[in-house]
Amino acid sequence: MSSVPQKPHLNLVIIGHVDHGKSTMVGHILYRLGYFDQKTLQMIEEEAKKMGKESFKFAWLLDRMKEERERGVTISLSYMKFETKKYFFTIIDAPGHRDFVKNMITGASQADAAILVVSARKGEFEAGMSPEGQTREHALLARTMGINQLIVAINKMDAAEPPYSEKRYQEVKEVLGKFLKSLGYNIEKIPFIPVSAWTGENLIERSPNMPWYTGPVLVEALDMLEVPSKPVDKPLRIPIQDVYAISGVGTVPVGRVETGVLKVGDKLIFNPPGVIGEVRSIETHHTKIEKAEPGDNIGFNVRGVERKDIKRGDVAGHTTNPPTVSDEFTARIFVMWHPTAITVGYTPVVHVHTASVACRITEIIAKLDPRTGKEVEKNPQFLKQGDAAIVKFKPIKPLVIEKYSDFPALGRFAMRDMGKTIGIGQVLDVKVLEQQKK
């Protein structure tokens, strides 16, 4: 594992409604593949028992925060590395709780593919699919953030009624499949795998309890994913996910390279703050590398930058072609959900790459026919649920955002308000902040 990774690398985010078994699944797979030893699991098992949370022993391999363990929920993203026959994976375990959708979106923005975990247990699947449910919201957000490859794990088959029921499996597959199709997913290409994250069935080995299922098991399905094309020719953009200060090393921002190539010795600028530094080393999978390419999830040590200078949501680029800090941007949006109406002044939180910043609508330029994209009304007074429009936004704090046509990963966004996803958008144009120009 310490050699330079030869296998192609993929970022995989695990998404789905709260408690549907995401962390348990990741923990169990990693344990089975030998990434945690038995002693570690035993120790955790004992601790979990003491707190009356034994069923969370696999989840606790990832959920290490006190708040997470006491409540049995994931709060922040976990990043784990593991490999299959074909790939190196960075696996990102996302929280399902509705108050942490903001963290889930960051994870989704960094992923090439997703496993959508849905519980087959009675009532749980239905909760996730309700209008408030995160099975629905996560699937939409994954799509919005550019994830085109999806695997569905129909989990907790051991707890279905009756256990391992093919009928329940079919029911879940049908309802969910229809919904995913409506989001634009090609469901022919999506494997729907019945699993139990708890017993480990159909994760790595085929379950004797579900002989009716003949498709791939989860790990096999992972090897059927494809590596997306790498925009190496574009200018460098690395949205920052976290920043560490490591003693003896220095400042280490981590993030995924979206476009361009990063090399040791490069001069970088982090925007919006505008701080400049030089790359001393790059690391991925605990291995030093000389250069990083699109899709690589890396930590890189920069000289001349302090940890407190930069944070999640900032974007690194070469000083010769810095990431665009926007004063205002124009976007095509679609309003998925809104209880009343959206007018000028409305200020939802915009999630783009790893950033989340409230942005004020300063102008509704035109309403569009959602089907044809043709303009139907100029300067409408308001927008309603189901409307498509061209709208101007002003971020209330400095924000790096790019034209979708230049940098898709930095130009597609989700809008949230009142704890819900109210719409999605793509950036058509960006007005550069004055102070950045000069």
Partner: protein, 363 residues
């Protein structure tokens, strides 16, 4: 002249309309006990140094303001028990001048003199400011927002953030010490938030103006925060009984918390504004005839007693008049401040005046 709070509010609103391109608007606050002669001497002294002002227009405007102030003050035998406040200046474009001298409803505590591009009304605003303030606190493990609701305003006092490392390493034996350090960092952050919140809220509490504190944030951190003694025990006692689940921080988070708080914030004008602006937009979008706008239409509906809620922008000249009409017509009246995101749109589109009807009257 002695003014009450209601009158003072009107005066402040009037004074705030005055803006100058140069520092020619005079504000003067005199606490009780100070000899009038002292103040007059100071003003005369100021007048004598105005010769240094280079721009002729500015010079003469400042001189006129000072002369008006001196003239008015020299007729005062003694600074009254509550102190004295004076404003003087002129509009350089129209030549119109203004002089206001008043005894405020509460004691003036500072001796303050300034000529500026606007009138310094902030000390008076303190006096009419709400005695019905709600503190706002959003908390999670690495971020917090402190704010307050004051009448029709939402104020963000502070946004705090701390750096808490994420989960990037694989868990194991060696990890545990590091995990504990992280938990300590979280506790340190809660402590800091508590200190800041106490500093902001305790003075208001002691003045008897803070009526409650609304606490929110994502999932569980807010419970952990309140369980320990980060927040002063007196403040803890007035934390509103329901904690609100909110995902975000900052202004967006505060607005979401207020909207979700519902009945917890009864009789809070800003909370009502958010709610009724939403309702107004809904009627507008549904086109159900319950949204009413246009001066004549609104007046007519008010006279018929058909308006349930009237929203008037504070930027309108005739706010008082509409408040009066609303009272007569039995409508709930709300004065819209610029802290509501849709206010600009509301002002532009509806001229700052609209309402929600009890039932349709126009077909």
């Amino acid at each position: 002249m002695r003014v009450d709070k209601q009158k003072l509010r009107e005066i402040i609103r009037e004074l705030k309309k005055w803006k100058a391109h140069a520092t020619i608007l005079l504000s003067l606050y005199v606490p009780p006990g100070r000899p009038v002669s002292d103040v007059l001497n100071m003003l005369r002294q100021e007048l004598s140094i105005t010769d240094n002002i280079k721009l002729k227009k500015t010079k003469s405007a400042v001189q006129r303001a000072l002369s008006m102030a001196i003239d008015r003050l020299s007729k005062v035998p003694k600074i009254p028990d509550k102190g004295l406040v004076l404003f003087a200046g002129e509009n350089p474009d129209t030549g119109e001048s203004i002089i206001v001298m008043l005894i405020p409803p509460e004691e003036v505590s500072v001796y303050y003199y300034r000529t500026d591009k606007y009138f310094h009304t902030e000390f008076l605003e303190e006096m009419v400011s709400e005695s019905n303030i709600i503190g706002l606190l959003l908390i999670e493990r690495d971020a917090a927002t402190i704010g307050m609701l004051k009448g029709n305003r939402l104020k963000i006092v502070e946004e705090l953030e701390d750096y808490i490392p994420g989960k990037h390493e694989k868990g194991g034996q060696s990890q545990r010490r590091y995990d504990r350090i992280i938990e300590q960092m979280v506790e340190e952050f809660y402590k800091r938030v508590g200190e800041h919140a106490n500093r902001v809220f305790l003075p208001l509490y002691e003045q008897g103006r803070l009526k409650g504190i609304l606490v929110g944030g994502p999932a569980y951190a807010k419970y952990d925060f309140l369980e320990k003694d980060y927040l002063d025990y007196r403040l803890k006692k007035i934390v509103l009984p329901e904690l609100i689940d909110v995902g975000y921080q900052g202004e967006a988070g505060l607005r979401e918390m207020i909207l979700k708080a519902g009945d917890l914030l009864k009789e809070q004008e800003f909370a009502d504004l958010l709610k009724y602006i939403e309702e107004f937009k809904l009627h507008l979008a549904k086109d159900d005839g319950l949204a009413v706008y246009g001066e004549d239409e609104v007046r007519n509906a008010l006279e018929m007693g058909m308006v349930a809620v009237l929203i008037i922008s504070e930027e309108r000249e005739d706010v008082e008049k509409w408040l009066e009409l609303a009272k007569k017509g039995g409508a709930k009246a709300l004065v819209l401040s610029s802290d509501v995101p849709e206010s600009e749109w509301f002002n532009k589109t509806f001229n700052g005046l609209a309402g929600i009807l009890r039932a349709r009257i126009y077909s």
